[in-house]
Symmetry: C2
DNA sequence: ATATGTGCAAAGTGTTTGCACTCGC
DNA sequence: GCGAGTGCAAACACTTTGCACATAT
């Protein structure tokens, strides 16, 4: 694991706001100013392949998530922030009777709306 | 409603395969060879704003869906095809206790895996 | 020495936009 | 004639890639 990969990994692991690649770059630069966006992307993809972080595909570019496993997300359409949603029972989605023909590997659940911060700003 | 908007609208309404913008363009060109990709995008977006079609955001570009309302999708990671999933009870997602602070407008549920066609090809 | 990884710039994708022109009313 | 809509090309945002150089075993 190169220095750069470690910096990228730390940036994601220490973020709870599902950062975009640009946000990861900014956080890496605080620690290693010479790091490059291409390197960030390469390492994010490597970390995903290694299964130690996850990608969340939402509006405004992909986000990177330290939390593994299936869990729902909420994205605010105003500020584009993404948060985990706790306590959602996704088991109901398994009983789909769909696996008979197709192999289901992944379940993406994303709720969209307006977060309480943006609601209060009117 | 311009001729072009009508052609775009028909292309989506008569497709059951959740076409991409490129696929919509191809189908429009069969009927109106002079039509342009920018026009397709503009009209797709207008139709979405009018609420007569829906956008489905998945890998490999957005898809356009004649079926309105919340319903789950399955996307094959091999051939990228997208199909509707029937008979999934998404009501379980409403009981999220999340709406207290945030306004939820939309629920996206996408299953990913390998479709039976691609499974059989090995 | 060798393989792996980096930084940079360039290319690639999918989508949107500025502008002059055209069409239907 | 006027406003909405078109076609084209250029711009855009995000991501990947080719290549020469650096780095660590």
């Amino acid at each position: 694991m190169s220095k750069q990969r470690n910096v990228v990994y730390s940036a994601v692991i220490n973020s709870s706001d599902h950062p975009t690649a640009d946000m990861v770059l900014a956080r890496c630069k605080e620690v290693m100013p010479s790091i490059n966006l291409a390197t960030v992307y390469r390492n994010l993809n490597a970390l995903i392949k290694d299964g130690v972080i996850q990608k969340v595909m939402v509006d405004g570019g992909d986000r990177f998530d330290k939390t593994l496993g299936t869990h729902a997300h909420f994205q605010c359409k105003v500020c584009n922030s993404v948060v985990d949603i706790e306590g959602v029972d996704l088991s109901c989605l398994k009983g789909i009777g769909f696996e008979t023909n197709n192999r289901v590997d992944e379940v993406d659940v994303t709720l969209k709306g307006v977060c309480h911060n943006c609601l209060n700003l009117n």
